[in-house]
Symmetry: C2
């Protein structure tokens, strides 16, 4: 365990983003039907043990390409759960390899539960001794502020980061999140309710908090509204690339920092993991295609925050 | 796979509840510090392989006590995730044993995500070929109606049941769920938004839907408000017993059926799994204590619905 992972998540993340000059986060979402020829084995059905092995080979190879190029990776846990317990073993190895390669790990789990159950989730993913110890996790606010407390406790004790859903990137996001509550949309009310905790968890170096929020790149105006509520919360911005949002839209909630716009990370999953040119059984061709996809997304985002 | 598990979940559940005369659901939540002496091994730390083995022995023994006494069991997945991949292997065995003993399995996962991620969760837990194939699952509505669609698809194809969070049992539930939206609390608005899907998924035999809602026993008035919105949705009612609600409070949203009040299941976890008298290293003593706890909760609920 390096110092960087036991220190304050907000400080650690923003320091890496500043050093790299771009806020790209890469989603490690192993869609089975898109794993390239090079790594496929057996039936590639979710329950086949060979599938988990193929997914692991693929992801560890991807992580090696990402090292020193991005600050943080974001495994979406559903794609690992889909493979049964063997998938969870793959997740543990993905996290271990990411840490070996000095990448921060933001686990996209969107957990939300109460009391002793929330405590169990926090132990599962935010304790240093957990099998799958992430540096940060995404959370769902529907169960109320008390449901966040066991996670906040790990932010205090172990420097972990938390990203609470505010305005998600999907078409139906507004069904609940935009409902008008006392003159403001619900997502804005959620953001406001996090204010005290965001301030409590601000980093000693950067001033950015370890409590962040999820705001889809597909909704740049909503990102500005959330920023108006939470000056010091980092944004996790999904929806860039494959979901159609531009780099400029993705960083709309960012603020001017010492080396450019900053205040969050922008996720790309499919755009980086599965570029068309990477579906090859030639290792060299695959590596070049992944490198090019990382380079393209990094440069586009570097340009947007310049 | 028996007929009962591939047929319509709402029909299957209510038929069993009617036959037993009570709506008790038992939560299979292995709190590590409460596992009785009889089953404990090694350090009982979450990462110790011995712990997963101890938890499995405990839960399989519990399932054998519950067979033919309750309609449905509800594993809370967080307690399995806490044990790492070995915990997920235990979950698979818990589900398999429950099905062997002809118990329905309602997986308490409170998942909520979008597009291909929601699809991955649905594949992980609702496909017949999944490693952990539950009969029903709990879902979080914050991401909107489109996030429920992959699960609804499994309700249509495989007869699975879905329970969407409306009003949870915790103290902070109201932070979001009670916010006033156009004159009604948010949880009521959530219930109303499910109306079309509840109707679509009604069972041919009972008329009860495979789309239900979660309404905490700790809030009986809110349960009546949800029932006013959704006449045909089954309720999953947590919070009875350990969380302080009475049997009468727990069934407040139920309706008169052919053999008493019906319209959902009432969960008890700690009250049945960990009665004080069961902390023994004598197998016979432990079995009697569990049987007595099941009998007590069943009788109390049978009385409340009579």
């Amino acid at each position: 365990v390096t110092t960087a992972r036991s220190r304050h998540f907000g400080d650690a993340l923003i320091q890496r983003v500043r050093a790299l000059g771009h806020p790209l986060c890469v989603g490690l979402d192993p869609h089975l039907d898109r794993i390239p020829e090079l790594f496929r084995r057996g039936s590639m059905a979710p329950g086949d043990p060979e599938t988990a092995a193929a997914v692991e080979d693929f992801l560890l190879a991807v992580i090696d390409r990402l090292a020193e190029r991005v600050a943080v990776v974001k495994p979406q846990i559903a794609f690992y759960e889909q493979l049964g317990w063997r998938g969870m073993e793959v997740l543990e190895r993905v996290i271990a390899r990411s840490h070996e390669r000095d990448l921060l790990v933001l686990l996209d789990a969107k957990r939300g539960d109460i009391g002793s159950t929330a405590e169990a989730y926090a132990r599962a993913y935010l304790e240093p001794t957990a099998g799958a110890p992430a540096d940060a996790i995404t959370l769902n606010p529907y169960l109320g502020l008390d449901s966040l407390e066991p996670f906040a406790e790990r932010a205090r004790s172990f420097g972990r980061g938390l990203f609470v859903l505010a305005r998600t990137s999907n078409a139906g996001a507004g069904d609940l999140q935009d409902l008008a509550v006392e003159g403001a949309p619900l997502f804005r009310k959620v953001a406001r309710s996090l204010g005290r905790l965001v301030e409590e968890l601000r980093g000693p170096e950067s001033g950015w908090s370890s409590l962040g929020v999820v705001v889809g790149a597909t909704w740049p105006e909503q990102a500005e509204a959330v920023r108006a509520e939470l000056a010091n919360a980092l944004f996790l911005v999904p929806g860039y690339g494959a979901q159609g949002a531009s780099a400029e839209d993705a960083v709309r909630g960012f603020e001017r920092g010492p080396v450019g716009l900053e205040g969050g990370v922008v996720n790309s999953s499919r755009g980086v993991l599965f570029p068309a040119a990477a579906d090859s059984d030639d290792r060299g061709v695959w590596e070049k295609a992944i490198d090019a996809a990382v380079e393209r997304a990094s440069a586009e985002l570097a340009n947007a925050v310049a």
